[in-house]
């Protein structure tokens, strides 16, 4: 194969998978052709997309964050409780939710960065602690919110706009700032990064706090979308986030990955969910097909990268 072609596949392999999925769905499903459906997909991926971006940062440092799903619930119940008690003060509700989630992120960061606890273990513990916190705080009951202003966050184009703003900001952060470079270096080789004068522990700490904060934002969007803050919501969300990051080319060993890659990853997952619903594929089969397509997408990506070897 010609050099330029090989390079093209290496760089855009996974995007081709997404485009191929779109082409197939455009052919077989009339609904898929509607603008409204495209908006639906974007709105549906907005929550998981924000989580996937958070996950990308963490995986890029060579870690993992299993707390993101639980923090979605934490944000929902904290925000929910304040807004239920005082519907006018939705800003306070959001602020409190984000602060608490950032604190949970800081807890993860503290154990990973300063006590060298493996990220998997630290955030697994964080996951159950945060989930438990959501139950204890809410006494297991959902908060149903009446604030129209707050629920507007989850309606129409708003979740999409929030997601896209976060996407752009995070992309800029990772690709254009010094901090982004430090994240890549820390994940690629933390010892070499430290020997280059980078305060690796601080970088890790900031990344986990950021992941907590982003999870909080995702939780607020979801709470606004469903008009309720539920302690049980978000279970298993971390798996979609990890899948999106990995499909998008983030290396589990750290140091490699991009935010646009993760966007493609989450769009593949979102398109898949939406497409299978539109095609009325049964709930049993959906799970199998999802697994196969995720595996296939990643295999295609890996083999297109090998071509250039």
């Amino acid at each position: 194969m010609k050099q330029s072609k090989v390079e093209f596949f290496r760089k855009y392999g996974i995007l081709l998978v997404l485009v191929a999925m779109w082409v197939i769905l455009l052919c077989v499903s009339p609904t898929f052709r509607t603008v409204n459906n495209a908006v639906n997909i974007l709105r549906q991926v907005s929550v998981n997309g924000i989580l996937a971006i958070a996950m990308t940062f963490v995986i890029m440092t060579g870690g993992i964050d299993l707390t993101v799903g639980s923090l979605v619930a934490v944000a929902g119940v904290i925000g929910g409780s304040i807004i239920v008690a005082n519907p006018g003060n939705w800003i306070l509700g959001i602020a409190a939710a984000l602060i608490v989630c950032a604190l949970f992120g800081a807890m993860n960061g503290f154990f990973v960065a300063f006590l060298d606890v493996p990220a998997f273990v630290a955030t697994l513990a964080g996951q159950t602690i945060a989930r438990g916190f959501a139950y204890v705080y809410s006494d297991g009951k959902p908060y149903t919110m009446a604030s129209k202003t707050f629920s507007a966050i989850g309606k129409g184009m708003t979740p999409i706009i929030i997601f896209l703003i976060i996407f752009v900001l995070c992309h800029i952060l990772l690709s254009m700032t010094k901090f982004g470079r430090y994240i890549y270096a820390t994940g690629g080789n933390s010892k070499a990064a430290a020997a280059s004068g980078i305060r690796v522990r601080q970088v890790l700490m900031k990344v986990y706090v950021m992941a907590g904060l982003l999870s909080g934002i995702a939780g607020i969007v979801l709470a606004a979308r469903t008009n309720s803050g539920q302690p049980a919501v978000g279970t298993g969300f971390e798996t979609d986030a990890i899948a999106a990051a990995v499909i998008g080319g983030t290396s589990m060993t750290g140091g490699i990955g991009t935010i646009p890659g993760t966007l493609v990853g989450i769009l593949i997952i979102g398109t898949l969910n939406n497409g299978l619903n539109l095609l009325n594929v049964s709930s049993y089969w959906q799970q199998i097909i999802k697994g196969i397509i995720i595996l296939g997408a990643v295999c295609f990506d890996i083999s297109s990268k090998k071509l250039s070897k």
Binding site: Q3, T177, K178, R181, A185, G188, A195, S196, G255
Partner: protein
């Protein structure tokens, strides 16, 4: 016609942007030790990877004992009897010596492993190779040389009749090297063919039968080792004559730039004091483990100091971590570039600018144009060979990787440059370039500290030499004394071996 153990015919391999091997042919007879020399990037590694099946050649054939081999993986070639002892060794560190040796061919007793029998046989084998070890020792506890020996033992036990050794002596002490040569002689007697890759021309001339020279991926010549000199080999390798191996420039030494007083790290080194002046190259010699690298790591903030003072330009500085050393214009090219030097999966550009981002880009954002300009400047100055500055540092040859490490520190425009084994495992051409670079930096008034295990290098390049033994400075020698012949390799060795 005599049958060769291994014969390669017209091998070609292209990578995106690089034509790595351009039609190389050579052959090795049974019982021959065949050296492969060439600068880094000459195509030696790629050639070997094609022989061991890690890469598939674009063109050409490999014959093993007269039969065409089409190895598709390292496992294939191992089965055929071709074994490679890597420069970076890959044993299983938490398994015992005997488990490593019998890996994949375990002796069983019914359904269970027969540890006792394997340990007994391992003990016999170790004795045969002159290693006195408990077979149940964890491999983690062995030295690099011992691990290398273990790898050779494994290869021989698999009945390999072609053994490729990639820089086998680069991390061996003299005694261990001697042992290795004995083993090579032994393998030779057993009609094993050995491909010997090394930058150390002296030892190549000593132990090999024939030498094949590669340059820029091309086959240059195969010569018998008995009829060639080091100078002629170097000429063939670099394609030009190098009149002087150590291009030391005499630079007037200026005011003191860097000083340490009474540095101590308990159990590692103590009472270390020395001064380096502008334009001076201070050499450190001593055995591996004597404390040389440990002193430098502590100065640079990678390890903790228990006590002592550090001065730059007469002002005392506190170093809590590398960031403090860097802020005070100290730079260090570490001994192990893959661990402390480079982020291998990131680009050349990112590696070079990494320690300089804080200083050179004051805002939150990176000024991309400025970054590319700076990196390109140093890429050109150091003559780094790469397709472009966006390729991953890990894809470069050893010499070019080392140049990237140098570039990243030179960009920081240090006052004090610490070089820990700056030329380890890199080829003559690149070595020469690094020596010249050191001279130029000294001329600009930089204070340079160089640690090296190669005595000729220390003696050739230093204005002053400190010997370290047992964590203490045991001798100091001036260039004048070296030039006049008053101080010889023997006297340095004597200091380095001095019991403290």
């Amino acid at each position: 016609m005599e049958q060769y153990r291994l014969e390669v015919k017209n091998l070609h391999k292209r990578f995106p942007g690089v034509y790595a091997v351009k039609g190389v042919s050579f052959s090795i007879a049974p019982g021959e030790v065949h050296a492969l020399v060439g600068e880094n990037g000459a195509g030696k590694s790629t050639l070997m990877k094609m022989i061991t099946g890690e890469y598939i050649p674009d063109e050409g054939e490999v014959y093993h004992n007269g039969a065409l081999v089409k190895a598709k993986s390292v496992a294939d070639s191992q089965k055929n009897g071709i074994a490679m002892i890597h420069q970076e060794l890959a044993p299983l560190p938490d398994m015992t010596i005997s488990e490593n040796i019998f890996l994949g061919q375990e002796i069983m007793k019914g359904k269970f492993l027969n540890h006792r029998e394997m340990d007994r046989r391992t003990a016999e084998i170790l004795k045969e190779y002159g290693m006195e070890f408990d077979p149940r020792t964890k491999v983690r506890k062995l030295s690099v040389a011992q691990i290398q020996m273990l790898e050779i033992i494994k290869a021989v036990r698999r009945n390999a009749d072609v053994i490729i050794m990639d820089e086998p002596t680069s991390s061996l002490a003299d005694e261990e090297t001697k042992k290795l040569f004995e083993i090579i002689a032994d393998l030779k007697a057993k009609q094993v063919a050995i491909i010997y890759i090394s930058h150390r021309l002296e030892e190549i001339l000593k132990i090999t039968d024939r030498i094949t020279v590669l340059r820029d991926g091309e086959y240059i010549k195969t010569v018998p080792a008995s009829g060639v000199t080091q100078g002629e080999l170097i000429e063939m390798m670099v394609g030009r004559t190098l009149d002087n191996r150590y291009p030391k420039e005499e630079v007037p030494v200026g005011r003191p730039v860097f000083e340490v007083r009474n540095l101590c790290r308990k159990g590692v080194f103590e009472d270390i004091s020395f001064t380096v002046k502008a334009g001076e190259i201070l050499g450190f010699c001593g055995l591996v483990g004597a404390g040389r690298s440990e002193i430098m790591n502590a100065i640079f903030g990678l390890d903790k100091l228990d006590s002592g003072q550090i001065f730059v330009d007469g002002r005392e500085i506190k170093v809590k971590g590398p960031q403090d050393a860097i802020a005070n214009k100290i730079a260090m090219v570490s001994e192990d570039r893959k661990i402390y030097g480079l982020v291998l999966n990131r680009s050349i550009k990112e590696n070079i600018s990494l320690p300089n981002l804080a200083e050179h880009h004051k805002s939150l954002f990176i000024n991309k144009a400025k970054e590319v300009r700076e990196v390109k400047e140093y890429e050109a100055a150091l003559n780094i060979k790469c397709a472009n500055i966006d390729v991953a540092a890990g894809t470069l040859s050893g010499g070019n990787q080392q140049k990237v490490v140098l570039a990243k520190w030179l960009l920081s425009q240090p006052k004090v440059l610490i070089l820990d084994e700056p030329t380890r495992g890199i080829d003559v051409g690149a070595k020469f370039e690094i020596y010249k670079m050191m001279g130029e930096l000294a001329k600009k008034g930089m204070a340079i500290i160089m640690i090296s295990s190669e005595l000729p290098e220390v003696m050739g390049m230093s204005d002053r030499i400190l010997c370290v033994s047992g964590g203490k400075i045991t001798g100091e020698y001036n260039r004048g004394d070296i030039l006049s012949g008053k101080v010889t390799q023997e006297s340095l060795l004597h200091s380095a071996l001095q019991e403290v």
